[in-house]
Amino acid sequence: MSGHVFHLGHDDLHGITVVLETTSGKTVIGRWHERVEKGIVLHDAALNEAGSQQTRDDFIARSVKFGVKPEHRTLVVTDEIASVRKLAEF
């Protein structure tokens, strides 16, 4: 992270498209809105779960190349987070 606050008054990641990986094996890509008590709120999010037809790597690679196909207008990720990276870093 650069430390550059994209939207003043919000989290550093507010408005940034991120890849969240959970300890339960989910990969979620979406635009970070905020962290709340329940979890992390993403907009225009897509989800890939362990065991899906599409692998995690393909899911991320396709999102990098063709954009995120939004399956959820708003999604609250309540699972324990293993990692957070910007999609642009992949």
Binding site: H4, T17, G67
Partner: protein, 139 residues
């Protein structure tokens, strides 16, 4: 919600003064993009902060490069919606996002810049990546 012209005009002019032709209707898009010859940069403009702080300043820098697309056009997402939808039909494999940029060569997409590749980046960084694409595809 329609954005007032007073608000969007400076955003349009920031691009048109760089030499971009603004396309406001599907017919205009078809007439220009539909020709499908040579290299063309299509900029999907937006009222959001990514466009103001990243995309448009980056275009201003990148368009100073000697090598650049033969033609540059723009549509305005959230403002000229029908024109934007028609423009996106020329790169329909790519998920809609705005701001975004597509470089077409003879009608085929050879480079695409999504919103996620713009958000949170400094204009200089976006411009450098765009110039690299110009050099690769438009020389």
């Amino acid at each position: 919600m329609a954005y007032p012209d007073l608000m969007t005009r400076p955003m349009r002019e920031e691009v048109t003064r760089l030499g971009f032709q603004e396309l406001k209707t599907p017919a205009e898009v078809d007439a220009v993009v539909g020709q499908g010859e040579g290299t063309m940069l299509i900029f999907v403009n937006s009222v959001c902060g990514c466009a103001a702080g990243g995309a448009r300043p980056a275009l201003s820098l990148a368009m100073q490069n000697q090598v650049k697309p033969a033609k540059s056009v723009s549509v305005f997402a959230g403002v000229d919606n029908e024109a934007t939808q028609r423009a996106r039909s020329f790169f329909s494999d790519y998920q809609p996002s705005s701001p975004s940029m597509a470089i077409l060569k003879d009608g085929e997409v050879v480079h695409f810049v999504h919103r996620h590749q713009i958000e949170g980046k400094h204009p200089q960084q976006i411009a450098a990546e765009l110039v690299a694409a110009f050099e690769k595809h438009c020389a």
